[in-house]
Symmetry: C2
Subunit: 538 residues, 2 copies
């Protein structure tokens, strides 16, 4: 799908066939450079691939600006459609497809708590703070703008998050932070859309109810659509292809197309495509993937990961190249003090806003636990807080949507918001990104992590409390059980239903004893893959 | 890369975010439908996947037109950039990557003879015939237009060709027809560009020499660029990744990106991207592919084939949907008689033009053979002739380039040329396509084909004459050998050089004894794959 993005790049950047090929050559060469250099820097203690791509993008834009005297002020124009239509779905689908379901579902409650309630708290804090502080700086923004700022800067960068934590070393923390990231993306986009559509000048209980209902409709609808399309793909591939084992290309093509279909359908029905395609990825990984040939299994795992890898690199390279666009900085250079002040205030709000929900919600989560050993300790809280501080493509895309018309703006206040967003994205990705690896290593030393990995279920992470043996038969009655240990009970009944019905109809790990199982399919295939999406597949 | 095409579709079709998602949903759903229905019809004696996609596209366009009352006259606009920038490279690269090199190189001489000289003959016949016959119909075309028509209708449809013949059943005929198709694509595009760029009003020896030199520069330059980029990818992957075996995503990403890079660089340097990316595919398959992990080997084979499969389906679906565009037919409906006459004349010229070179060149090729048994028989000649009669996306794209401005035309003569091109593409794909399978089965009965397959080298196909044992040491001196059996001698020395130098530097089948060879890699990995690109991989 990233070629779609490049397509957009070629088509939207500058007209003229030759210019398209100049841009494409430059961009594809830089992408190759990012991959090679990223690989060479892999062992580095500080650098990650996002930083590499950002720096290469910045350098390329700088060199182009110095060496050529282009008539057009734009080397590139930031195209938000490009991100939401082509690049983001590839990354999020792969994230769903590769997620370790076991850990994800065990932590579902906490993930939703952090992702939905947390994002709402962060949204409130940032909106209120921005209204309080930016108003004094005279940026000339309206109420709707402040609310939009809250939504824009509540969207964490799930891509960066993925590169910070390691799925093998800290599987539970990874699931929690990453799962929160996806729900957070969905929540902030839904919030942002709601703010744009509703008349906020006179908020009353009716508007508030309508907003809440829209919010719920989108969450439930998006999830359901992802499940339905995922199951449909499983059913079609199982019914049609089961007998004949020579249609790898068709199987892979159908999986890619149906995954993308779930995304575009969600957007068409005014649902949230990010959530839909994520759920679709999970369902496809759980059912569809087991219905295809061994070659298709290997191909889908790696092809989806490759698409996502290219898309991630593309985003950071693109953001880096876009950042040096002169027109954007014209207004900022008129009042540099104000720009710095706005960026500083927003960055502080991002950090405060996240602290405002991570610590209370962790304490809330801890209060449910019976044993002190199972509590979410301070170091874990700091890690969760830090891992969600980076801002990326989603924030950029939302900011462009709110503060520009087709990538251009003439209002000084809006121009300052765009440059501030770029500043925060660059600063958080590069500076926070550089500190992250050492920080995580300090907070969660590898020796402990390896221990964590080898005996993850007996470890003191509280989120697993009572879920160690989710397959066990409940010893008391179902109702008592449900009241006492709701999560475990739900998982127990779900897995019974899954084995008895779902897997028989839609295919799955145990439904097809005749199929030779490939050697790289363990009891939980997700566990074969590392945490870094670019390195997860061996 | 097909998502690039869909991107272009979304971006160029109609503005507005919602419309983009309507188009994408419709298109992706239809693509899924084509795959499923194409699979169900697989056993059919008549239908192939191109016809399925065309008919589905036509039906969808018809239903949309009847049920909705769209203000815009266009459901879609044909975007030639879309084909040349995103869709064609995916198909041609995969063709190069999956080609059976052994057969391809043995027939290289004949392939180039048919592809270059044959296309030039066909170009001459069609141009002259069009000037002679269409002039009388009063279409108001100029000399340049007639020459363009010659180039447009000399471009065979390699995609259809691939679906007609079976690489396993008739490997040599397949290599010949398919190889000719690729060289033909390149030749006709180069010709077309040359016609557009040169001042043809006063042709003298200088212009003719300049044309010839441009032609040669493009052929040699394109081939060299493909080789260089292919070898560079092999070298980078061998040098950087050899030690660490956990970078499947990076390997696959680098291969895809560098393949695409070869294409866009060729277009940037005014070379022929089709030829470049084809050669790059061959080189990558011969060197780069052997340097990557086993998982990458499986993934690249299948992922590239899937990309190509989606791109092929996309093209025919798109052409089908575009064909019903009303504006195009407005002029044609004013003078239906003339339209039918023009289409008929052009179709006849296509058939005559191809016969004019297939039969003479086959006789020329036969005259070189010493034994009567090795001659290219009449049935083979008819098969080669027939397999190259279909016209497809390349013809459409060239016609739009010549006869429209941004997909629109107001000149009646030009409008008739566009509708005639659509008519010929539809007619040849559907009607000729329907007859093809039975015809090939009649001309080359399966029993004979299986025999051909099992003992292909001893069969009476003349193109292999003297090449059965290309690895044998020449018994006489090199010079005598070169004069007597040039092809065999060149192959002999090339394979010595390949083993002694190329494979050591760039990697290859025998250079890495430490690497475990996956079970689906035979002595000639290409032989594992069938002829139909959508079914080639098991």
């Amino acid at each position: 799908m990233v070629f779609g993005a490049i397509a957009g790049l070629g088509v939207t950047a500058l007209p003229g066939s030759d210019q398209v090929f100049v841009n494409l050559t430059l961009f594809v060469t830089l992408l190759c450079g990012c991959i090679v250099i990223g690989h060479l820097l892999e062992e580095s203690r500080w650098i990650n691939e996002s930083i590499t791509a950002l720096v290469i993008g910045l350098s390329a834009a700088g060199i182009t600006r110095l060496t050529t005297n282009r008539k057009s002020p734009h080397l590139l124009e930031f195209d938000e459609q490009l991100f939401f239509v082509y690049v983001i779905p590839a990354i999020i689908f792969n994230a769903g497809f590769q997620v370790k379901m076991k850990h994800f579902f065990r932590n579902l409650g906490t993930i939703v708590l952090f992702g939905v309630l947390g994002t709402l708290i962060s949204f409130g804090v940032i909106s209120f703070g921005a209204w309080l502080l930016l108003g004094k700086l005279g940026t000339g923004l309206e109420l709707r703008d402040y609310l939009a700022i809250g939504a824009i800067f509540s969207a964490t960068d799930s891509v960066c998050t993925l590169q910070v934590l390691d799925q093998d070393e800290t599987p539970l923390l990874y699931s929690l932070v990453f799962g929160e990231g996806v729900v957070n993306d969905a929540t902030s986009v839904v919030l942002f859309n709601a703010i744009q559509k509703f008349d906020l000048s006179n908020i009353n209980s009716r508007v508030a109810l309508s907003l809440t209902l829209t919010f719920l409709y989108r969450f439930v609808g998006s999830t359901l659509l992802g499940v339905v399309v995922g199951l449909l793909s499983a059913y079609i591939i199982k019914k049609i292809y089961l007998g004949r084992r020579k249609s790898t290309d068709r199987e892979v093509a159908l999986m890619i197309l149906m995954a993308y279909l779930s995304y575009v359908m969600a957007e068409l029905f005014d649902l949230n495509g990010i959530l839909t395609v994520f759920v679709c990825g999970i369902v496809m990984s759980h059912y569809t993937w087991h219905n295809v040939t061994d070659n298709s299994k290997v191909t889908t795992r790696h092809a989806f990961a490759t698409m996502s890898f290219i898309a991630e690199t593309f985003i950071f390279l693109y953001v880096g190249m876009d950042a040096l666009d002169i027109e954007k900085w014209r207004f900022a250079s008129h009042s540099p003090g104000k720009s710095v002040a706005v960026s500083g205030v927003l960055l502080a709000l991002v950090m405060v806003g996240r602290a405002c929900f991570v610590i209370p919600l962790a304490i809330l989560s801890n209060s449910w636990k019976q044993s002190k050993d199972h509590e979410l300790g301070f170091k874990h809280q700091v890690t969760i807080w830090w891992a969600g501080l980076m801002r990326g493509a989603v924030s950029m895309a939302l900011a462009y949507n709110q503060f520009t018309r087709f990538g251009h703006t003439q209002l000084p206040g809006n121009a300052v918001m765009i440059t501030s967003t770029i500043t925060i994205v660059l600063f958080s990705t590069v500076v926070f990104g550089l500190i992250t690896k050492p920080l995580i290593r300090y907070l969660l030393p590898p020796s402990k992590d390896i221990n964590m990995n080898s005996s993850e279920l007996s470890l003191g992470l509280p989120l697993l409390n009572g879920l160690e043996h989710e397959g066990d038969v409940p010893r008391t009655s179902s109702l008592t059980m449900l009241l006492k240990r709701p999560a475990q009970t739900i998982i127990y009944f779900w897995s019974k239903f899954d084995d008895a019905f779902m897997r028989r109809v839609f295919g799955g790990r145990d439904s097809m004893p005749d199929t030779p199982v490939s050697s790289n399919e363990g009891s939980d295939h997700g566990s074969l893959f590392g945490s870094n999406p670019s390195l997860r597949l061996v």
